[in-house]
Structures are given as C-alpha cells and as structure tokens.
C-alpha cells in the first residue's frame, strides 16, 4: 500500500455564509485516476479550487505528505499540482506557443528543455502544432480544451486536476481528450477528474465520488458506481428517487 499522493480530509469551503463544500474527504494514490461527479452546484468546482488554493478552506489538505495550507497557488504549482479549470483560463491574446511556454513558467526551464517539452505536447496534440502561432482565443472549443491540457502538461505535473473537460464539446472530441488523459497515467501523472457527464467520468477512472450539496453521497470503484441505480436517477430524474 503506497502513501496517498493527495489527501483531503473534512474539507469545508464557504462563500460568505453559504457553505459550498461541507466536510468532504477524498484520497488519491499515485498513478490513480479519480473522478468526482454530481449535479450542478454540488460543489465539485469549489472542491478543486480549494485544493489548488484559489479559495480559502478549512480541514486537512496534504500533498505527498506535505501540508498545503499556508502555501499560495503559485507555491502549489511549484510542488507539482496543476488545475485545468472549467473556464480554461487561457491567455486569449497570446499565441498557442506562448500559452504553452508559459505553462512551464514555474519550472524556469532552459531553452533546450523547453523545446523538448513543447515537442512532446505537440506530439500529443498535433492540431496545436498546426496552430502554434494563432492566438488562443481564435481556437475552437475543443482546441482550447487541448491547449489548456497542453499548457498544464508543460509543467510536468504530479497531480493533474481537470474540471469538466467535456464541457460544451462534441462526444468525439471528448473521447479523444480522455484517451490522452488515460495515457498520461502511464507517465506517472495522477488525475483528479471532475465531470458532470457521469458516464464519461466513470468509464475513464479507477475510483469515483458522487458529490451532492457539498457532501460525498457515494463513493467506490468506478465500475460499481456506473451500475448504481441512484447514480442513474440523479442524471435523468424519475426512477427510484421520485418523492
């Protein structure tokens, strides 16, 4: 049994008086893909933002045994955490290549290492290579998602957190992106995947958590969760949960 890479314990996050995440515990082993699913407003995005340090939280947050509290976002990036947020947060007025290079900003790479990393990202996403000098905001939704992922990979993260990578994308592109995500695991990257698209998330992860109203409602191996009647009910209404 290896030690957990990320250990979240009894995490609470509030916006003013409204508590968005109330007492979530979650752990992730090295090389694991863990998905968090749940309806709109369940607190999934908030959970990731707090883990990254974008929002203040209470509870335990440990990364490779180190306490993350007291570290700002930038320090967490330096430790190897990386978030691909829902809104992607690309640098729209910079070129694709500039976006990628800035992804490695915290690593202070020399020219040749930077070049090699760029090549490896371009190898993963040949479409980005074609568009390297285009401005990021002129890319299509799918390409922007690829760029966000590519920018994250430039920092060679230990833990990659993906917030709704399927948002607004056609199913074919979602498959393409998730196939790449699965290959990352072979390079030793662990992944925390937040998704509203439950099937996509569960099919591509080892372990799953269902978040409802800021609390963990269910958790377990993804294959078991996918067959759970309650999970089905949450997404199409009716079914067993009808009151």
């Amino acid at each position: 049994m290896t030690a957990a890479l990320l250990e979240i314990g009894d995490l609470h996050v509030s916006y003013g008086r409204v508590e968005a995440v109330c007492g979530v515990s979650l752990s992730l082993a090295p090389g694991q893909i863990v998905s968090v699913i749940g309806p709109n407003g369940a607190g999934k995005t908030t959970l990731l933002a707090a883990t990254m340090g974008l929002l203040p939280s209470t509870g335990t947050l440990r990364f490779e045994g180190e306490d993350l509290r007291g570290l700002d976002v930038e320090a967490r990036v330096e430790r190897g955490l990386c978030l691909v947020p829902e809104k992607r947060e690309l640098f729209g007025d910079l070129s694709v290549q500039d976006n990628l290079q800035l992804g490695a900003y915290a690593k202070r790479l020399n020219g040749s290492t930077m070049g090699r990393r760029l090549q490896s990202v371009y190898a993963l996403f040949p479409r980005l290579a074609e568009r390297r000098s285009q401005l990021a905001r002129t890319l299509s939704g799918g390409e922007q998602q690829m760029l966000a992922l590519g920018r994250a990979l430039m920092s060679a993260p230990r833990l990659l957190m993906l917030d709704e990578p399927s948002l607004g994308l056609a199913p074919l592109i979602v498959c393409e992106i998730l196939a790449i995500v699965r290959t990352l695991r072979e390079d030793g990257v662990s992944i925390l995947l937040v998704e509203q698209n439950a099937r996509v998330a569960l099919e591509n992860s080892d372990h799953g958590y269902v978040l409802e109203s800021g609390e963990v409602a269910l958790s377990g191996a993804s294959s078991i969760l996918a067959g759970d009647a309650r999970v089905q009910a949450t997404y199409l209404g009716g079914g067993t949960d009808d009151d």
Partner: protein, 591 residues
Amino acid sequence: MTRFGSVVAAAIVALLALAPLVLGSFAVGLLNDVGIGALVALGLVLLTGVGGLTSFGQAAFVGIAAYASAWLTTTHGASPWFGLLFALAATGVSACLIGMLTLRLGGHFLPLSTIAWGLSISLLFGNIDALGRHSGLSNIPPLHLGTMSLTTPESVYYLIWPIFGLAYWFIHNLLNSRPGRAVRSLRGGATLLASVGADAFRVRLTLFVTAALLAGISGWLYAHTNRFVSPSPFDLRASIEYLLMAVAGGLGQLAGALVGAGLVFLVKNSLQDLLPLLSQRGGQLDGVAFAILFLVLLQHARGGMMGFVSRRGQGRPGAPTLPARRPVPALLRRSLPAPGTPLLAVAGAVKHFGGLVAVNDVSFAMRAGEIVGLIGPNGAGKSTMFNLITGTLPMSAGQVEFLGRDISTAPQRHIARLGMARTFQHVKLRPKMSLLDNVACGAYARTRCGMLASGLRLNRAEEQQIHDEAMRQLTRIGLADRAHEQAGSLPLGTQRILEIARALAADPVLLVLDEPAAGLRRQEKAALGELLRRLRADGISILIVEHDMAFVMKLVDRLVVMNFGAKLVEGPPAEVRANRAVQSAYLGANP
C-alpha cells in the same frame, strides 16, 4: 425612517437652526461653507453612492453655475434670483449635453471622461475674457430677500441651510419612489432595468442632471456668498475634494453628504491652524494631509463615517416610509390571451459568439397557458436561447414572435413592456434594498410618476398602489412577513423566488424562469412547483430552464431538449425521458 432616526434628524435641524445664535461670525461662515459643500456632496452621494456613476468633474458644474450667475449679475446688473434661473439652466444644459455624450461609456472609461471634461471646463474659465480670465469676476452682488440684503454670514446662513434642507428632503423622497428605485437598481446593470421595462440610459441621464443641478445651486450660493469667483475653486482638485466629502461621510447614506462636508471643512480648518506650526512650508501641506486621509479611508473605511453608524442602525437610503393608509384602486391588469392561443414562436434562431455557434437553428412554439421546460446538459445553449427570446442578446439570424408581433429586433425593455417578465440564472437583485422595494421595481412599466413629482411627494397615490401590488406578490410567494428585510439577507435559493415576485409585479403574460429551483431544499422546491401550477391556473404561461429533472418532469406540459446549441427533441415529459438520444446526452455518449 425609524423613530430613532426621526428624533436624531429633528435634533440636528434644531441645532442647526439655533447655531448662529451661539456661534461667532467665523464659525457661522464655516457652517455656510459646509452647507454649500454638502449640496455638491449630496449630488455625489446620489450619483456615485446610489447610482454607481463616479464623477471627478463635479466642481466644474459648481463653476458653471457660479460663473453664469456672476456674469449675469455683474455685467448685466440682473438680480441674483434671475442669476439662479440662468445658472440652473446653464448647468442643466451642460450636464445634459455632457451626459448624452459620455453616459454610454462603459466601465472605467466613464470616470476617466469626467476627468477630461472636468479639466477642460475649469481650464476654459481661466481663458475666457468675459469671465475675467485668471483673475476672475469680483464685486458680485449679495443675495437679497425683499429689501433685506444678505451680506452677513448670519443672514445668508438662514438661506443656505433651508435650501440644503429642501434639497435633502427632495432627494430623500425621490429615493423612496418609483424613479428612485430605478436609480438604486442602476448598479445591478442595464439588463436588470431593461427586464422591468426601464431605460437605463435615461435613468442615468436624469440622475446625472439632478446631481449637476445640486452642484449648480451650490455654485450660485458660492458666487453670491463669497462675492468673487476665480477658476481655482472649480478645478480637478476641488472635484476630488467633493468626492472626498462624499466618501468620508459615507456614500451609502444621504446623511453622509452632510457629515462628510462637515468633516472635511473641520479637518481643513484645523490643518490650516496646525500645519504652519510643524514646518515653514506646512501651510501648503494640506493637500498631503487630505491625500493621506483619503487613502486611509479607502483602505479601512470605504463605508465612511455613516458606515459606522449604519452598522448599528439600518439607516439605508430608502428605509421604508410607509405611505399613508388611504384606500386606492389596484393597479390595472392587462387582459391575458385565451388558453391555447399561440403565444410565442421561435423560428430558426441562431446566435454566434465570434466563431462559436451557441444556438444553432432552434425552432419551437408555445401556447398560452402552457408550462414549457427547456432542458439540456451544461453548455447546451439554454441560457443563450433565453437571452435571445427576452431580447437581452441580439440574434444572429432567425425570428421570434410574441403575441403575434415580431420581436426579433426589439430592445429588451420593449419586450418586457409587452408582457414578458424574466428571472436570471445569476440572481440580479439589489441586495441592500428591501424585499418590498425589489419587488416594487417590477411594477416600473405599469406606473408613471417622474423624478420631479416623486421628489415633491406628489406621487403618494401611485406609490400606495405600487406598495399594495408588491405586497400582494410577496404574499403570493410567502415572503410578506419579511417585506422590510434586505434582499441580500435571504438564502440564494429564496432570492430566486423573490425574482419571481418581481417578475409577477410586472403583470406578465409570459414568465421566463432561468433555473428557479437551484439551491432550494426539497420542501421549498415542492412549494415552488405548487406556486407555478397556481400561476398557470391563473392564466400565466411559463417557460422554464431547470436542471433538476425530477422537478421539471412533474411540472411541465412539454419539454424542449437542447444539446450543442441545437434542438434535440421536443415533446411531453414521458416521451422525452424514454428517448435514447436524450439519455445519451445526459449520461454521455456511449463510445
């Protein structure tokens, strides 16, 4: 106003009335300056604090009025009272022109433009021969009442302070009225105002002119009290000083203007006594002292002096003044179309954002008396569709017909006035206004009283009607007992319900609801469903976007499902639920 508030106000009025009897001429002169300054600050509290429009050029309006009256009375020998009319006309016309040019500016460009015209106008004063260039105009006649000439500080005191009192009363009345509620909603954005049928630009313009006229009265008093005008009291520095008064007193309360003006003149006066003792150039250091004061305020007390006071009481502008209990007829209601008649028809709606197609060739129709649900996964284009129907966003292509009229290109406020009322996914309420006032905003398009009538309290009957209507809607949603609480104190879910009450106050034909059940607990959801069904029974049609499938399925007559900007299917709930394409859209495509 609370009883405590009235007692304090009465005490202040009494103290001010008696002040000249006990104070010396110097102190009375200082109080005169405070009154003159407080008039400008009052306009700024209204403009910046309430309306959210910051002006770095208010001193220019003071200057326009001061110079206008000074010029008319010195070169043409006119009476200062003619001077007042002329000064107000000059200020009003300039404000109107400047406002029409600049008030459409967005974000920080508007305040920057005020620096530009503020500077230009004060530079003009010093370069026009008729205005005496840099040496200004002197020998301005004093004010007179009848045969009595107001030359002493004590005599003019009894003119300045009643004028301030009247202005204060006028603005206070204004804020607690139909146009005042629109002004107080300005900060919520133009979309909020347009959704109740109001024209945000016109509201801003009248607000801007009102604030300028207050500055104008102040300038007129200044010219005839000091009996000398020169460019420097009207430059950018002076404008900043007025803004400092408003911020120091508290932009959140009208009383902040008075407190702030008092504070600034007091500090200024004591600095002039103290600073020369510190260093030989100290006399010129008051700018530094003011800058430090301003910076400290911005860092630690953006609510100003009154911010501390209101943390105890609740003296917000527009604390509830209950209209006199007098029976009034209810507001007129429009006649609703017969159930089953065509109500809304969307044909081939398309919306591009740059290269992204958010809504792609969507068509559907609604009949009167129906509840139709619009569902689809995140990012499917539902909210954009809503914005196209309500006119919040212009369509790239396609047509929308409402009540038999083509509204494809109509502005949002016209569509609202036709009888389409909406709520917002990101709640657009004014958190510091009471529930009652928020709901009363909804009745804007059904009522008429303007600023002048409201300020002079000639609007009592209509206000009573609005009040009754708002209370009726609050009762309908079950929040009548909390009518005077601040809307921001409600949980987010309940705020969405409050938005429904505001929409109902507009007496709508069609209610367009964007995720009304989000953030509600189970029983609250049940109550909301019950309310919506009752509304349908009353003949109101409803179009609803909602994520909670269990809630939607039980409520609606028909569903329209969107995915990737296009319409996927349309039909009754049971049929839609069984549809394979819908299942895969929600649970994800089976690869």
